[in-house]
């Protein structure tokens, strides 16, 4: 471990001592008791693994930003969980997942959600039928009631997005 890493650890340690209680208190309003401590702890873990070049001028502003982002992720996870369970419930062919499978699936869903975020619904639908169901373009065109040309265009959008994400 380099001297810089050590200095960073010590610095985050001091931030933790000075601001952890404050952060928990602010978060508790939104998340109840257990959730607040989890997010507050995760906030410092993220800070610990982030590269820091210079001293942070406004530690509380930074902690707020990280905590906010973690909270939004938690909320999106809840939204996805509810929507996924609803979709499973309404799908006659769906198989009963084990608790482990469900947990795995929810984690995957959040990654996929981030990956495809912002793409139009038709693009997502097209890509998922290709990627998950393994359908050909003529099959996708028929199922979605669109032209094969559109299927190609939509696939190009989705693949382009995935390639870009692969380079980040």
């Amino acid at each position: 471990m380099s001297g810089l890493d050590n200095a960073h650890r010590e610095y985050v340690g001091s931030l933790f001592r000075n601001h952890y209680q404050w952060l928990c208190l602010r978060l508790r309003r939104h998340l109840g008791d257990g959730g607040a401590e989890d997010i507050a702890a995760d906030t410092f873990v993220q800070l610990l693994s982030a590269p820091v070049a210079e001293p942070i001028r406004q530690p509380r502003a930074l902690l707020t930003t990280i905590a906010q982002r973690l909270m939004y992720q938690l909320w999106r996870r809840r939204d996805l969980e509810r929507a996924y369970l609803d979709a499973l419930r309404l799908d006659d062919d769906a198989q009963a997942p084990s608790p482990e499978e469900l947990a795995q699936m929810l984690e995957a869903l959040q990654i996929i959600d981030n990956l495809l975020d912002g793409l139009p619904a038709k693009v997502k639908a097209t890509f998922l039928l290709s990627q998950v169901n393994g359908l050909t373009y003529p099959q996708i065109a028929e199922q979605l009631g669109i032209s094969q040309r559109s299927v190609s265009d939509y696939m190009a959008k989705a693949i382009h997005r995935c390639l870009k994400a692969s380079l980040e």
Binding site: I56, Q58, T65, R69, R76, R78, D91, I112, V132, T136
Partner: protein, 313 residues
Amino acid sequence: MSNEQDRLVEQATRWIVLLRSGQASEAQRQAFLAWRARDPRHDELCLRLERTLGVFQVPIAQGVDGGVLQRALEAPSSRRKVLQRGLLGVGLMIGGGWSLAPSFESLGADFSTGIGQRQTVQLDDGSELVLNAQSAADVRFDEQRRVLQWRGGEGLIHVAADRRPFVLHTSGGEVQARDARVLLRDRDARCRVGAMDRALQIVTRGGDRLQLQAGQEVDFDRYRFGVVQALRSADSAWVNGLLEVRDRPLSEVIEALRPYRHGVLRLDPAIAGLRVSGLYRLDQSDRVLDALSRTLPIRISRRSDYWVTLLPA
């Protein structure tokens, strides 16, 4: 990203779109392999894409249909998600360059409960908000107005007296209140609002208006109002963790239990209309199901704790 990298991504996109079509010839397949082998960067990009797409092995292995996945991804994405993206874009710019100074004001405004959680929140103006499980709301107060943006779920709002009007935004329209207790449910684009002690004004998104008197409740969506009815005390029993029903369809009981359960709970339509009466604890939904199966002509099929189906006996 450099122009060179952009060009690579364009090329790779064209190849992969062609190969996925199900109509690529053997010669085209060979040509792609040759392209991939020509330059280590081509191969590297393909490998990276395979890693990125590895996450799809989870639904494929579990036999989850792409259509189910699609519906799940369509989960209402609130403003929060936009914010999340924005923040991700900012990244962790730590150090001297750190000048963005978000306050806890914006964070201080959003509330959300997960499965099986209830929460009481005190707002800055003295109002109180009780959230049922799986519910969310954002608070936007300024000098002129107090706006509560309802993101879905169920809540009891005790609106404090204040010179500023209090407006509750729901999926179906706006509810205006002053120094009043409001009961709200907003799920799947259907709203139910109850006026517990003072009259409320409701305006649907379509522009229809209604004055709801104290002790009344009404269902509405963005297009129309349902019939105004007397508010039932049972409607706010959830605040105390209770589910109180008198001669209501089984489907209503199941809907009330859903926010309290992880996993799938299915109800056979043949028994959805069975009438139910009773007082149940929301926090013990499995016991509620067992109790129902003893008093109604239904049986419970538990394939796992996460997959429960109610069937005719």
